[in-house]
Symmetry: C2
Subunit: 221 residues, 2 copies
């Protein structure tokens, strides 16, 4: 039988996984708003951010009450502190999808991403969304192998970002400065979402094994 | 006479202030590398980031040992957890100045920022650097008024970023897509440095007063 402390810890991780699923919805809808030029869906993403923020507050309250009342040490202490960090990163991922939605909204009734750049941007969005979806399951299942595999997908994001730059800086680019700037910033936002996903996954590895996958601590924060 | 716990807390805040001063140097040198197209100074910023990372590890170790051995509750607990968050944000500010230095290095022997855009970019850099310098003193002095004043400077950064976009998206822009993309990303990096500075200042207010300046928690993380 689990003690009260570990039951509360489990319930906190269930909340983290739920927040992660909300973030996944935000990333998916923000991309939909972006690629279809849909102002209504963009507004929906922007409005939903408040739900993620208040879910973060709930997790923080639970973490502080665990720290205060249960006074965990060693491994248990690091788990609670890790949860506090994970929830900050998840909230930040939500903020980044709001940035994507705001670029979408700014260009309505046009679509911010020209046809030519669509495959690369759509693929960046897909990689980011897939990483967020897998992090939710990594949190729920405490799946170390899946968490480590996630770190490798970050490389696809880097290479997508490089090809996106090559495209918009080439002499053939016909879509002007505004589109190029939008795409550079969108690339940055999706890349940061992916960075945070890797970082959250690394924290799950730490929670389960007591060690970070490679370096001492994930560098994305 | 202060007890051991509060002495260790003071020493942790002295470390935070020192890290903040290192970040200020990074921001200053990165800007110098950027505006002068100086590869050597850019390399210096990139190399110095390891020092900031290991200083962060030291603060984290102290925080964990305080939490484990002293088992603080209520206010003291929140101070230690705040320190952990502040050190993550300071490290992130260091990473962002590395991003600035890398854009500088990429364009050497050219200068990434064309003459026309120089005043706005230089002013963004100045505002960011000034905010970082003031945060270091806010941490040392636990100066709540200075911390709150810092939040207001964020508005100048927002308006600089808007005028920078107006400039590079205007029909008069003669410097092509590459420069425009560089400047958009540089604006984003300086803006994030400023956001983190405000967030660290807000955490100092919280440490001293038990309350965040306005919202429950700084939103930049």
């Amino acid at each position: 039988m689990r003690d009260v402390f570990h039951e509360q810890l489990d319930s906190m991780f269930a909340d983290l996984s739920e927040i992660c699923q909300e973030v996944e919805t935000s990333v998916r809808l923000a991309t939909q708003a972006l690629l279809n030029g849909d102002a209504e869906v963009a507004e929906q993403v922007i409005a939903a951010d408040a739900t993620i923020d208040s879910a973060r507050e709930r997790v923080e309250d639970t973490a502080f009450s665990l720290l205060s009342l249960q006074q965990p040490v060693a491994g248990d202490l690091r788990v609670v502190v890790s949860a506090l960090r994970m929830v900050s990163e998840l909230e930040r991922m939500g903020d980044l999808s709001v940035h994507v939605a705001k670029i979408a909204r700014l260009r309505v009734p046009d679509v911010a991403v020209p046809e030519e750049a669509r495959p690369t941007v759509a693929r960046m969005a897909e990689v980011a969304e897939d990483m967020v979806r897998r992090v939710a399951s990594v949190i729920t299942e405490k799946d170390v192998d899946a968490a480590i595999a996630l770190g490798r997908d970050d490389e696809e994001m880097d290479s997508l970002r490089r090809s996106s730059f090559t495209q918009l800086l080439s002499d053939d680019w016909q879509h002007g400065v505004e589109s190029a700037v939008d795409i550079a910033l969108l690339g940055r936002y999706y890349e940061r979402i992916a960075d945070h996903a890797v970082s959250v996954a690394n924290r799950v590895v730490f929670v389960v094994t007591g060690q970070f996958p490679s370096a001492r601590e994930p560098s994305a924060s």
